[in-house]
Amino acid sequence: MTDQPFLDATMAHLDVVWSIARRMSADPAEAEDLVQETYARAWRGFADQGRGDVRSWLVAICLNTARSELRHTRRRPVTLVGGSELDEHEASDDVSGEALASVERQGVSRALAALPDAQRRAIVLVDIGGLTAREAAEIEGAPRGTILARLHRGRRQLAVLAEREGLHRGP
Protein backbone atom coordinates (compact mmCIF):
# COMPACT_ATOMS: atom_id res chain seq x y z
CA MET A 1 0.00 0.00 0.00
CA THR A 2 1.34 3.41 -0.94
CA ASP A 3 1.46 5.86 1.94
CA GLN A 4 0.24 8.95 0.06
CA PRO A 5 -3.51 8.21 0.32
CA PHE A 6 -3.05 7.63 4.03
CA LEU A 7 -1.15 10.88 4.47
CA ASP A 8 -3.69 12.78 2.41
CA ALA A 9 -6.50 11.44 4.55
CA THR A 10 -4.91 11.83 7.96
CA MET A 11 -2.35 14.63 8.11
CA ALA A 12 -5.05 17.29 8.07
CA HIS A 13 -6.11 16.00 11.48
CA LEU A 14 -2.68 16.04 13.07
CA ASP A 15 -3.41 19.20 15.08
CA VAL A 16 -6.54 17.64 16.56
CA VAL A 17 -4.71 14.42 17.48
CA TRP A 18 -1.86 16.47 18.95
CA SER A 19 -4.19 18.63 21.04
CA ILE A 20 -5.84 15.53 22.44
CA ALA A 21 -2.55 13.74 23.02
CA ARG A 22 -1.25 16.73 24.98
CA ARG A 23 -4.20 16.43 27.37
CA MET A 24 -3.64 12.69 27.76
CA SER A 25 0.12 12.85 28.38
CA ALA A 26 2.41 13.98 31.14
CA ASP A 27 4.70 16.06 28.94
CA PRO A 28 5.22 17.08 25.28
CA ALA A 29 7.71 14.27 24.62
CA GLU A 30 5.21 11.66 25.76
CA ALA A 31 2.51 13.35 23.70
CA GLU A 32 4.72 13.16 20.61
CA ASP A 33 5.25 9.46 21.23
CA LEU A 34 1.51 9.00 21.59
CA VAL A 35 0.80 10.80 18.32
CA GLN A 36 3.44 8.83 16.50
CA GLU A 37 2.11 5.53 17.83
CA THR A 38 -1.42 6.63 16.91
CA TYR A 39 -0.40 7.24 13.31
CA ALA A 40 1.57 4.01 13.16
CA ARG A 41 -1.47 2.04 14.32
CA ALA A 42 -3.74 4.00 11.99
CA TRP A 43 -1.49 3.26 9.06
CA ARG A 44 -1.59 -0.45 9.80
CA GLY A 45 -5.38 -0.34 9.97
CA PHE A 46 -6.00 2.08 7.14
CA ALA A 47 -6.96 -0.57 4.61
CA ASP A 48 -9.77 -1.75 6.92
CA GLN A 49 -10.94 1.71 7.88
CA GLY A 50 -13.29 2.10 4.93
CA ARG A 51 -14.29 5.66 4.23
CA GLY A 52 -15.84 6.64 7.51
CA ASP A 53 -14.97 9.80 9.39
CA VAL A 54 -11.18 9.82 9.53
CA ARG A 55 -10.89 12.35 12.34
CA SER A 56 -13.09 10.38 14.74
CA TRP A 57 -11.26 7.21 13.78
CA LEU A 58 -7.88 8.78 14.55
CA VAL A 59 -9.11 10.22 17.83
CA ALA A 60 -10.44 6.82 18.89
CA ILE A 61 -7.06 5.23 18.12
CA CYS A 62 -5.30 7.97 20.07
CA LEU A 63 -7.49 7.44 23.13
CA ASN A 64 -7.18 3.66 22.96
CA THR A 65 -3.42 3.96 22.61
CA ALA A 66 -3.32 6.31 25.59
CA ARG A 67 -5.36 3.81 27.60
CA SER A 68 -3.06 0.93 26.72
CA GLU A 69 -0.01 3.02 27.57
CA LEU A 70 -1.66 3.87 30.87
CA ARG A 71 -2.22 0.22 31.64
CA HIS A 72 1.39 -0.36 30.74
CA THR A 73 2.77 2.34 32.97
CA ARG A 74 0.06 2.03 35.66
CA ARG A 75 -0.25 5.69 36.32
CA ARG A 76 -2.76 8.41 35.77
CA PRO A 77 -2.20 10.94 33.00
CA VAL A 78 -1.03 14.31 34.14
CA THR A 79 -2.22 17.22 32.11
CA LEU A 80 0.30 19.99 31.97
CA VAL A 81 0.88 22.48 29.22
CA GLY A 82 4.22 23.58 28.08
CA GLY A 83 7.76 22.44 28.06
CA SER A 84 10.87 24.44 28.49
CA GLU A 85 9.70 27.09 26.06
CA LEU A 86 6.87 28.09 28.36
CA ASP A 87 9.08 27.99 31.39
CA GLU A 88 11.42 30.35 29.62
CA HIS A 89 8.55 32.75 29.11
CA GLU A 90 7.68 32.57 32.77
CA ALA A 91 11.25 33.18 33.81
CA SER A 92 11.59 36.15 31.52
CA ASP A 93 11.45 39.66 32.92
CA ASP A 94 9.36 40.64 29.91
CA VAL A 95 5.78 40.20 31.12
CA SER A 96 4.37 40.11 27.62
CA GLY A 97 0.92 39.11 26.49
CA GLU A 98 2.29 35.87 25.13
CA ALA A 99 3.83 34.89 28.46
CA LEU A 100 0.61 35.77 30.24
CA ALA A 101 -1.35 33.59 27.82
CA SER A 102 1.06 30.73 28.50
CA VAL A 103 0.58 31.04 32.23
CA GLU A 104 -3.17 31.10 31.73
CA ARG A 105 -3.07 27.95 29.66
CA GLN A 106 -1.06 26.21 32.35
CA GLY A 107 -3.72 27.17 34.87
CA VAL A 108 -6.48 25.87 32.60
CA SER A 109 -4.55 22.65 32.14
CA ARG A 110 -4.26 22.14 35.87
CA ALA A 111 -7.98 22.77 36.26
CA LEU A 112 -8.81 20.33 33.47
CA ALA A 113 -6.57 17.67 34.99
CA ALA A 114 -8.44 18.01 38.27
CA LEU A 115 -11.80 17.06 36.72
CA PRO A 116 -13.25 13.57 37.04
CA ASP A 117 -11.88 11.40 34.24
CA ALA A 118 -15.17 10.99 32.35
CA GLN A 119 -15.85 14.74 32.35
CA ARG A 120 -12.32 15.51 31.30
CA ARG A 121 -12.49 13.08 28.41
CA ALA A 122 -15.78 14.54 27.21
CA ILE A 123 -14.27 18.01 27.22
CA VAL A 124 -11.11 16.83 25.49
CA LEU A 125 -13.11 15.15 22.74
CA VAL A 126 -15.67 17.88 22.12
CA ASP A 127 -14.15 21.21 23.13
CA ILE A 128 -10.52 20.51 22.29
CA GLY A 129 -10.90 17.82 19.63
CA GLY A 130 -13.86 19.49 17.97
CA LEU A 131 -15.99 16.34 17.79
CA THR A 132 -19.76 16.42 18.08
CA ALA A 133 -21.41 14.90 21.13
CA ARG A 134 -22.61 12.05 18.93
CA GLU A 135 -19.09 11.31 17.69
CA ALA A 136 -17.75 11.47 21.24
CA ALA A 137 -20.52 9.12 22.36
CA GLU A 138 -19.53 6.56 19.74
CA ILE A 139 -15.89 6.71 20.80
CA GLU A 140 -16.70 6.48 24.50
CA GLY A 141 -19.35 3.80 24.04
CA ALA A 142 -21.80 5.88 26.02
CA PRO A 143 -25.20 7.39 25.18
CA ARG A 144 -25.09 10.87 23.65
CA GLY A 145 -27.11 12.23 26.57
CA THR A 146 -24.51 10.96 29.00
CA ILE A 147 -21.76 12.73 27.08
CA LEU A 148 -23.80 15.94 27.07
CA ALA A 149 -24.32 15.72 30.82
CA ARG A 150 -20.61 15.09 31.42
CA LEU A 151 -19.76 18.01 29.17
CA HIS A 152 -22.07 20.38 30.97
CA ARG A 153 -20.92 19.44 34.46
CA GLY A 154 -17.29 19.36 33.39
CA ARG A 155 -17.42 22.78 31.77
CA ARG A 156 -19.03 24.32 34.84
CA GLN A 157 -16.52 22.68 37.13
CA LEU A 158 -13.69 23.81 34.87
CA ALA A 159 -14.90 27.39 35.09
CA VAL A 160 -15.06 27.17 38.88
CA LEU A 161 -11.61 25.60 39.17
CA ALA A 162 -10.12 28.12 36.77
CA GLU A 163 -11.60 30.89 38.86
CA ARG A 164 -9.71 29.46 41.82
CA GLU A 165 -6.57 29.51 39.69
CA GLY A 166 -7.17 33.22 39.29
CA LEU A 167 -8.16 33.00 35.63
CA HIS A 168 -10.87 35.21 34.25
CA ARG A 169 -10.94 34.35 30.57
CA GLY A 170 -14.20 33.70 28.81
CA PRO A 171 -17.56 35.33 28.33
Binding site: D3, W18, V35, A101, A149, G154, R155, A159, P171
Partner: protein, 218 residues
Protein backbone atom coordinates in the same frame (compact mmCIF):
# COMPACT_ATOMS: atom_id res chain seq x y z
CA UNK B 1 -39.03 22.76 31.16
CA UNK B 2 -37.08 21.47 34.15
CA UNK B 3 -33.35 21.93 34.80
CA UNK B 4 -31.67 19.54 32.42
CA UNK B 5 -27.87 19.39 32.05
CA UNK B 6 -28.09 17.44 28.82
CA UNK B 7 -30.43 19.88 27.19
CA UNK B 8 -28.35 22.87 28.29
CA UNK B 9 -25.20 21.21 26.90
CA UNK B 10 -26.99 20.49 23.62
CA UNK B 11 -28.14 24.12 23.56
CA UNK B 12 -24.57 25.36 23.96
CA UNK B 13 -23.42 22.93 21.28
CA UNK B 14 -26.04 24.18 18.79
CA UNK B 15 -27.45 20.68 18.69
CA UNK B 16 -31.10 21.60 19.27
CA UNK B 17 -33.76 22.35 16.70
CA UNK B 18 -35.25 25.85 16.57
CA UNK B 19 -38.27 24.99 18.69
CA UNK B 20 -36.10 23.48 21.41
CA UNK B 21 -33.77 26.49 21.33
CA UNK B 22 -36.74 28.78 21.80
CA UNK B 23 -37.95 26.70 24.75
CA UNK B 24 -34.53 26.71 26.42
CA UNK B 25 -34.09 30.44 25.96
CA UNK B 26 -37.54 31.11 27.37
CA UNK B 27 -36.63 29.00 30.37
CA UNK B 28 -33.31 30.79 30.84
CA UNK B 29 -35.11 34.10 31.13
CA UNK B 30 -37.10 32.77 34.06
CA UNK B 31 -34.54 30.59 35.82
CA UNK B 32 -31.57 32.18 37.53
CA UNK B 33 -30.03 28.78 38.26
CA UNK B 34 -29.98 27.68 34.62
CA UNK B 35 -28.85 31.14 33.49
CA UNK B 36 -25.88 30.89 35.82
CA UNK B 37 -25.22 27.29 34.72
CA UNK B 38 -25.14 28.30 31.05
CA UNK B 39 -22.86 31.22 31.84
CA UNK B 40 -20.42 28.96 33.68
CA UNK B 41 -20.55 26.29 31.01
CA UNK B 42 -19.85 28.84 28.28
CA UNK B 43 -16.88 30.07 30.23
CA UNK B 44 -15.65 26.53 30.79
CA UNK B 45 -15.95 25.77 27.10
CA UNK B 46 -13.98 28.89 26.17
CA UNK B 47 -11.28 27.91 28.63
CA UNK B 48 -11.08 24.40 27.23
CA UNK B 49 -10.94 25.69 23.66
CA UNK B 50 -7.97 27.84 24.62
CA UNK B 51 -6.01 24.59 25.02
CA UNK B 52 -6.14 23.77 21.32
CA UNK B 53 -2.65 23.77 19.86
CA UNK B 54 -0.90 23.23 16.58
CA UNK B 55 1.30 20.18 16.31
CA UNK B 56 5.02 21.04 16.25
CA UNK B 57 6.51 21.08 12.76
CA UNK B 58 9.05 18.50 13.88
CA UNK B 59 6.24 16.11 14.82
CA UNK B 60 4.70 16.49 11.37
CA UNK B 61 8.04 15.43 9.91
CA UNK B 62 8.38 12.61 12.41
CA UNK B 63 4.95 11.19 11.58
CA UNK B 64 5.72 11.32 7.89
CA UNK B 65 8.99 9.53 8.52
CA UNK B 66 7.13 6.82 10.41
CA UNK B 67 4.69 6.29 7.58
CA UNK B 68 7.23 6.56 4.80
CA UNK B 69 9.48 3.99 6.41
CA UNK B 70 12.43 6.22 7.28
CA UNK B 71 14.24 5.29 10.51
CA UNK B 72 11.62 6.23 13.08
CA UNK B 73 11.85 6.53 16.84
CA UNK B 74 8.74 4.42 17.18
CA UNK B 75 8.17 3.16 20.68
CA UNK B 76 10.40 5.75 22.28
CA UNK B 77 7.95 6.04 25.13
CA UNK B 78 8.15 2.34 25.97
CA UNK B 79 11.92 2.45 25.80
CA UNK B 80 11.88 5.40 28.15
CA UNK B 81 9.80 3.43 30.63
CA UNK B 82 12.39 0.70 30.69
CA UNK B 83 15.49 2.87 30.62
CA UNK B 84 14.49 5.51 33.14
CA UNK B 85 14.35 9.26 33.00
CA UNK B 86 18.08 9.91 32.58
CA UNK B 87 18.32 7.70 29.54
CA UNK B 88 15.03 9.12 28.34
CA UNK B 89 16.51 12.60 28.37
CA UNK B 90 19.42 11.43 26.25
CA UNK B 91 17.07 9.67 23.83
CA UNK B 92 14.86 12.72 23.62
CA UNK B 93 17.84 14.94 22.91
CA UNK B 94 19.08 12.56 20.22
CA UNK B 95 15.62 12.37 18.68
CA UNK B 96 15.38 16.14 18.72
CA UNK B 97 18.77 16.52 17.07
CA UNK B 98 17.86 13.93 14.48
CA UNK B 99 14.56 15.68 13.82
CA UNK B 100 16.27 19.05 13.49
CA UNK B 101 18.84 17.63 11.10
CA UNK B 102 16.19 15.90 9.03
CA UNK B 103 14.02 19.00 8.97
CA UNK B 104 16.85 21.32 8.00
CA UNK B 105 18.17 18.90 5.40
CA UNK B 106 14.75 18.47 3.81
CA UNK B 107 13.54 22.05 3.86
CA UNK B 108 16.23 23.83 1.92
CA UNK B 109 14.82 27.00 0.44
CA UNK B 110 11.42 26.48 2.06
CA UNK B 111 9.40 28.83 4.22
CA UNK B 112 10.66 30.03 7.59
CA UNK B 113 9.22 27.72 10.25
CA UNK B 114 7.31 30.49 12.02
CA UNK B 115 5.60 31.64 8.83
CA UNK B 116 4.78 28.06 7.83
CA UNK B 117 3.28 27.40 11.26
CA UNK B 118 1.04 30.48 11.10
CA UNK B 119 -0.13 29.60 7.58
CA UNK B 120 -0.98 26.10 8.82
CA UNK B 121 -2.84 27.60 11.77
CA UNK B 122 -4.79 29.84 9.40
CA UNK B 123 -6.03 26.77 7.58
CA UNK B 124 -6.73 24.76 10.70
CA UNK B 125 -10.35 24.22 11.79
CA UNK B 126 -9.22 24.02 15.41
CA UNK B 127 -8.31 27.73 15.55
CA UNK B 128 -5.50 27.36 18.11
CA UNK B 129 -4.73 30.33 20.32
CA UNK B 130 -0.97 29.92 20.07
CA UNK B 131 1.77 27.92 18.45
CA UNK B 132 5.33 27.39 19.62
CA UNK B 133 8.06 27.37 16.98
CA UNK B 134 11.67 26.79 17.92
CA UNK B 135 10.91 27.75 21.50
CA UNK B 136 9.21 30.99 20.47
CA UNK B 137 5.53 31.32 21.27
CA UNK B 138 3.37 32.98 18.64
CA UNK B 139 0.01 34.28 19.88
CA UNK B 140 -2.87 33.78 17.45
CA UNK B 141 -6.33 35.25 17.11
CA UNK B 142 -9.01 35.31 14.46
CA UNK B 143 -11.27 37.90 12.94
CA UNK B 144 -13.20 37.96 9.70
CA UNK B 145 -13.18 40.04 6.55
CA UNK B 146 -15.60 39.67 3.65
CA UNK B 147 -16.90 36.53 5.32
CA UNK B 148 -13.47 34.89 5.39
CA UNK B 149 -11.51 34.10 8.56
CA UNK B 150 -8.43 36.26 9.07
CA UNK B 151 -5.69 34.95 11.33
CA UNK B 152 -3.45 37.33 13.26
CA UNK B 153 -0.16 36.19 14.69
CA UNK B 154 2.08 38.16 17.03
CA UNK B 155 5.56 37.15 17.93
CA UNK B 156 8.47 38.65 19.84
CA UNK B 157 10.70 37.45 17.00
CA UNK B 158 10.56 38.74 13.46
CA UNK B 159 8.83 36.82 10.70
CA UNK B 160 11.38 36.33 7.94
CA UNK B 161 10.03 36.77 4.45
CA UNK B 162 9.51 33.43 2.65
CA UNK B 163 10.72 32.76 -0.88
CA UNK B 164 8.61 34.55 -3.44
CA UNK B 165 7.55 37.31 -1.05
CA UNK B 166 8.12 40.99 -1.75
CA UNK B 167 8.59 44.07 0.40
CA UNK B 168 6.38 47.08 -0.17
CA UNK B 169 9.41 49.36 0.09
CA UNK B 170 12.81 48.90 1.68
CA UNK B 171 13.95 45.87 3.67
CA UNK B 172 12.19 47.03 6.86
CA UNK B 173 8.80 47.68 5.27
CA UNK B 174 5.85 45.24 5.33
CA UNK B 175 6.07 42.29 3.03
CA UNK B 176 3.44 40.19 1.30
CA UNK B 177 3.56 36.62 0.01
CA UNK B 178 1.14 34.03 -1.35
CA UNK B 179 0.88 30.44 -0.15
CA UNK B 180 -1.66 28.40 -2.15
CA UNK B 181 -4.86 30.46 -1.86
CA UNK B 182 -3.62 32.27 1.24
CA UNK B 183 -2.26 35.80 1.30
CA UNK B 184 0.37 36.41 3.99
CA UNK B 185 1.06 39.98 5.09
CA UNK B 186 3.79 40.86 7.57
CA UNK B 187 3.49 44.25 9.26
CA UNK B 188 6.61 45.89 10.56
CA UNK B 189 6.68 47.77 13.84
CA UNK B 190 7.46 47.15 17.49
CA UNK B 191 5.42 43.94 17.37
CA UNK B 192 5.92 41.40 14.65
CA UNK B 193 2.49 40.88 13.18
CA UNK B 194 1.51 38.38 10.52
CA UNK B 195 -1.93 38.49 8.90
CA UNK B 196 -3.11 35.49 6.87
CA UNK B 197 -6.36 34.96 4.98
CA UNK B 198 -7.81 33.34 1.89
CA UNK B 199 -8.33 36.74 0.29
CA UNK B 200 -6.80 38.68 -2.60
CA UNK B 201 -3.52 40.30 -1.63
CA UNK B 202 -4.72 43.81 -2.45
CA UNK B 203 -7.80 43.46 -0.25
CA UNK B 204 -6.01 42.02 2.77
CA UNK B 205 -3.08 44.38 2.46
CA UNK B 206 -5.28 47.46 2.30
CA UNK B 207 -7.28 46.33 5.31
CA UNK B 208 -4.32 45.23 7.40
CA UNK B 209 -2.23 48.33 6.78
CA UNK B 210 -4.84 51.02 7.18
CA UNK B 211 -4.57 50.86 10.97
CA UNK B 212 -8.14 49.84 11.72
CA UNK B 213 -7.58 46.11 11.68
CA UNK B 214 -7.55 44.58 15.17
CA UNK B 215 -3.98 43.42 14.86
CA UNK B 216 -3.44 42.75 18.54
CA UNK B 217 -4.57 39.23 19.42
CA UNK B 218 -6.87 38.93 22.40
Amino acid sequence: MVHDDRRLAAYLGSELDPAEIEAVEAHLLDCDGCWQAVHEARRGRALAESLRELAPASLRDRVRMTVEGAPPTLGAHRRRCRLGRGAATVLAALALLAGMFWASAGRGGSDPASVAAVVRAAGSPTAPSAVVVDGQEIALSRDSLDGKPVTFARSAARFDMPPGGRHLGGPDTPWVARRASMTVVCLSGPDNILVVADLPAERLLAWATRGSAPVVPA
